[in-house]
Amino acid sequence: MKSIRLLLAFALIGLVASSLPAQAQQKKKSVLNLFCWSEYVPQEVIDGFTKETGIKVNVENYASNEQMLAKLNAGASKYDLVQPSEYTVEGLIKAGKLEELNLGNIPNFKNLDPKYTKMPHDPENKYSVPWMVGSVGIVVNTTKVKEPVKTYKEVFSGKYKKRIVILDDHREIVSWALNSIGIPANDITPENLEKAKAVLKDWLPQVKVYDSDSPKTALLNGDVDLGIVWSGEAALLYKKNKKYTYTLPEDGAHQFIDSLAIPKDAPHKESAEKFINYILQPEVSLKISKEFPYTNPNAEARKLLTKAQLDNPASYPPGEPKLDTFKDIGKASADIDKVILDLKGK
């Protein structure tokens, strides 16, 4: 039922959006329509930007890359700036859905750690600039689980049946299963999916909660004792209580690079570039790190972080390991969805 309403809403948004361009042209200079993840852009940063540039920011949120894509696909052309992860950036570039950036307008680009620029999903940074970097790993409540848990296999060894929370993100889940049997996360072939399915058949019945939005809730409420979650969630748990430890799985961890990018035909491209340049200032970037403790790709901002912030193992994993990223897999997302549903549906 909800899907019907959703569809209707999308259709209406499309209609409204297509009848608006004349109006949008007029306000070209003073507005920025930001379409970003929920819990990711501090209000303080938005206010600061408006104060400095006089540009008014309209914010809309989404909870997953796919949700953002769904809205862009529905024909919403009013957004000036979106915040996709690396594999979504790759897919959007392939489909010609992003505007080229003029890095000349973004001088603060130089503040970024070269480790996080010119990455495979956008080799020249022609279309995207990194916002925050994070990983997915194992978080353990050490008062309940005494022994170390270092691999996906150990999480699902059978010892922690129904004491586990994992992300409700099908691509993620399948990638862990692939990693646990030594297959790279991006090798999504029918044969490999079959192998992953065999692994997951044993794993999924052990899971108590699937939650991508706020997996920390089930851990904090004592409903589960360990989980596989976003590093930022783990960092917040660690900040609250040191009993929550975070480990990058030894059988294969990966990172995500959330970026800023301008959709094709955005009405206020200039405002968007100004915003990108603004958040790349070390002091501004620091504010983002303070509220949302993911890994900050801004080298200049990192110099300003406190020792406590840098010592949070979920934000800055010791040793700075080199991690893989996801690649765009296009239509295969439906095959992945089927694998999970076949198992969950039983």
Binding site: K2, L69, A70, K208, N221, D328
Partner: protein
């Protein structure tokens, strides 16, 4: 007649039409609709694409959703009817106040209310803490993230949708008919069976429909309170739009349910006409 027609076109015909068209389309790498005709989406609902044989995955999910919705409806009837009766029979000046009590929770966001239940039912939540404090139990009960929690959430959300239409029937019920039944020697049980129940039937039927149908499509409650480990059909459809980049398949699932209901509804309507 014309306003009704316009309403139907805007809110029923056009959306269902869009859904119907999408359900026969395909999609590209990024999930955008490609307008080429294909039966594939409907085929996938019933035929497992790996084995090429009849597949029961979506059927199982659908049956589970119907079970959840059915149980929810039964509980709503049992709990809601006495409440509606009590409010409908209360002195006139107090009825509005009582009705307001039923509706007050609706003034807060649905999600906020669901999160409140999470706080109550979780392992270290209010209910478990209370029961342990009073020494009624020694170990916390596992309540949240179970099918039972989903039912609690569904009943809580849909109970008012049953109470309100039944209240409408009860309020209109002429008291002299009940008195007449007693005068003619019928006991309370017989009066209820032969007089009260038939006269309030329209309200009960409306209430059942208002609870059962939306409960089947509901996905937020099973996601938040059930831990999403046993998906309902609403969640599966949602996933097609927000996880799998597969709107056409989601549309096909939606259309199939619409058709199933239309058939079931017209069948029961005919049965009623015959009797």
């Amino acid at each position: 007649m014309t306003p009704m027609l316009l309403w139907l076109v805007a809110f029923v015909v056009i959306p269902t039409g869009i859904l119907l068209v999408y359900s026969f389309c395909q999609r590209d790498e990024l999930g955008q609709i490609i307008y080429t005709f294909s039966w594939e989406n409907y085929r996938r609902i019933f035929i497992d694409s790996d084995t090429g044989e009849f597949g029961t995955t979506y059927l199982t999910v659908f049956v589970r959703s119907v079970e959840y919705a059915g149980l929810t409806t039964v509980i709503c009837v049992v709990m809601g009817y006495p409440v509606a009766w009590f409010i409908g029979r209360a002195p006139e000046n107090r009825r509005n106040f009582l009705l307001m009590l039923v509706m007050i929770p609706f003034w807060t966001s649905f999600l906020v209310r669901t999160y409140a239940w999470i706080t109550i039912l979780s392992t270290e939540g209010l209910l478990n803490s209370f029961l342990q404090y009073t020494k009624l139990i020694s170990e916390p009960f596992e309540m949240l993230y179970t099918p039972g929690a989903v039912i609690v959430g569904l009943v809580y959300s849909y109970l008012p949708f049953f109470i309100l239409p039944v209240y409408g029937s009860v309020e209109k019920l002429d008291n002299s008919l009940v008195e007449a039944a007693f005068d003619l020697g019928a006991g309370p049980v017989r009066t209820f069976q032969r007089v009260i129940l038939p006269l309030t039937r329209p309200g009960i039927m409306a209430g059942i429909l208002l609870v059962f149908i939306p409960a089947i499509g509901m996905f937020a409650i099973s996601e938040l309170m059930g831990g999403n480990s046993q998906p309902t059909i609403g969640e599966v459809i949602q996933d097609q739009f927000l996880q799998a980049r597969d709107w056409p398949f989601g549309a096909a699932l939606g259309m199939t349910i619409v058709v199933l209901f239309a058939v079931a509804f017209s069948f029961t309507a005919r049965q009623r006409d015959l009797t």
